[in-house]
Symmetry: C2
Subunit: 295 residues, 2 copies
């Protein structure tokens, strides 16, 4: 099956998708991105992802020639279809940068078109890990103070995730001023006495789509929720800890910095939210058999 | 004259220099760079630049297939020659990223070769501005806490420089916890009662090559120097303020946030350091006439 991607107005094989060395994504990390989950060809919460993308583009004032939300969705659909990803799990990746121009820090000339890159790939959910529970290490949150923007200035996240891989754990969890902010590519939740905790949306965390969905699911279930940061020093006293993300879903964390959290086993709240999220991913209006028809 | 650049082992025209959409420079800003000044075909302090580049590569653990310092210098020399930049002022730009691979935050497979990009361009020194003096605005230092690394995670610098351009000033100067750290692409100095001040090297500033040279020149001249940060609120009480950088040289700042600094005119210390730096740029062993012979 061809691995088609979309770049600057054209569909082409991934190996032939090249950008200029003068692209401001390459030179400055001057762009934003999104990763959307697709299940059986159906994208999960695409509007929220594209709304966040647009909000990032507005904040950074990137916009020349950027496709409409409708066009981006259509491009994503065509990639899922063209790459044989209408069955099973997949991800759609979208990145928009401020385009290619002679290198200078300030914005390029007004007419410089943005670079638009979209790709789709098959994806293997972490089924087994999700049931068994994952592990994490803490890392100092060295990032800038505009983490609510989903930019490709991702070097601190890269280094934190690499530290996690080398420590043989699932995720690295950032700690700023003693508080857990979020993971290198996930949001972090805790539960104690039946109450759910997570860092409030602020300039120090990404407003995760899965985070928002989990908060909705928690409300549906009737859980009390407090958007307040978790003290890293108190994390191991939680009844449960879990991380959320587009490719992570709801993943219980049962070890932190080498020591058990919450008795070292996934807790009931995480497992319940996991189940409810899976139902949402399947889609409320399209039961399982239909997926196979579409595929 | 052809605009040749060097990319991944080959010299080729800039318009044909393209990288994969999977390059980690594009996806994560996962790389470092240097800008070297050349004058009459002679690079200024190339060893210090390449030493800083190597130190950044070591810190980020990028290294597979990276050319030696000798090879990078040779590539730069060939670009200066091939692009007709042996006379006048030019800059050499070098960028090395962690290469192209399937997108995931942690490092790619060990054998993934780094992407090496080198280019050279003509450059017009800010002669008139340097004599008249420039202006600056302050901007909150929103950057991460590893600013000593010269990475391409440059979005905060981009936004600060754009704010400067829109305020019709020369540079944006970052303020962290009330103190001036550095400019968006320069270091900042102040002078009071014959004493020079600049932010100490730390994780909050780039150890500028021109900064280091200016400190040496100050010592030669016999100026007292204190590497201590300048309080933004006290900046206008300085006798002089100036910024330094590879393409900025020594540039007096005579207005800050719309109000005069140091009487609104360049001070004697900045002008003296400017002159001494110009002598160094010309090179101690190669007086002016010889440049024309080489060209």
């Amino acid at each position: 099956m061809a691995d088609l991607v979309f770049l600057d107005g054209k569909f082409l094989p991934r190996q032939r998708a090249h950008i200029s060395v003068q692209d401001r994504g390459f030179l400055f990390g001057d762009g934003v991105y999104e990763m959307i989950r697709a299940s059986g060809g159906r994208m999960f919460e695409p509007d929220r992802h594209l709304e966040r993308l647009e909000s990032g583009l507005r904040a950074l004032r990137i916009g020349v020639g950027t496709p409409s939300r409708y066009d981006l969705l259509e491009i994503a659909r065509r990639l899922l279809e063209g790459n044989g990803l209408l069955a099973g799990d997949a991800t759609v990746y979208l990145q928009i940068t401020r385009g290619a121009a002679v290198r200078r820090h300030n914005f390029p000339p007004d007419a410089t078109p943005a670079t638009v890159f979209v790709s789709a790939a098959t994806f293997l959910p972490l089924e087994e890990l999700r049931h068994r529970g994952g592990s994490a290490i803490t890392q100092p949150d060295t990032r800038w103070s505009r983490c609510h923007l989903k930019t490709v200035n991702l070097l601190p996240n890269v280094l934190a995730k690499q530290a996690a891989v080398e420590a043989d754990v699932t995720e690295a969890v950032f700690v700023r001023d003693g508080f857990i902010t979020e993971g290198s590519s996930t949001n972090v939740f805790g539960a104690r006495d039946g109450e759910l905790f997570t860092h409030p949306t602020s300039n120090h965390i990404l407003p995760g789509i899965t985070r928002a969905v989990v908060l909705e699911l928690a409300a549906e279930i009737g859980l009390r929720v407090r958007e307040t940061p978790i003290l890293a020093a108190e994390a191991r006293d939680l009844d449960e800890m879990f991380i959320t993300g587009t490719t992570t879903d709801v993943l219980p964390i049962v070890r932190l910095d080498g020591r058990p959290v919450a008795g070292g086993v996934p807790g009931p709240i995480a497992l319940l939210l996991q189940e409810r999220l899976a139902e949402r991913l399947e889609g409320p209006t399209r039961p399982l058999p239909l997926r196979e028809v579409v595929a």
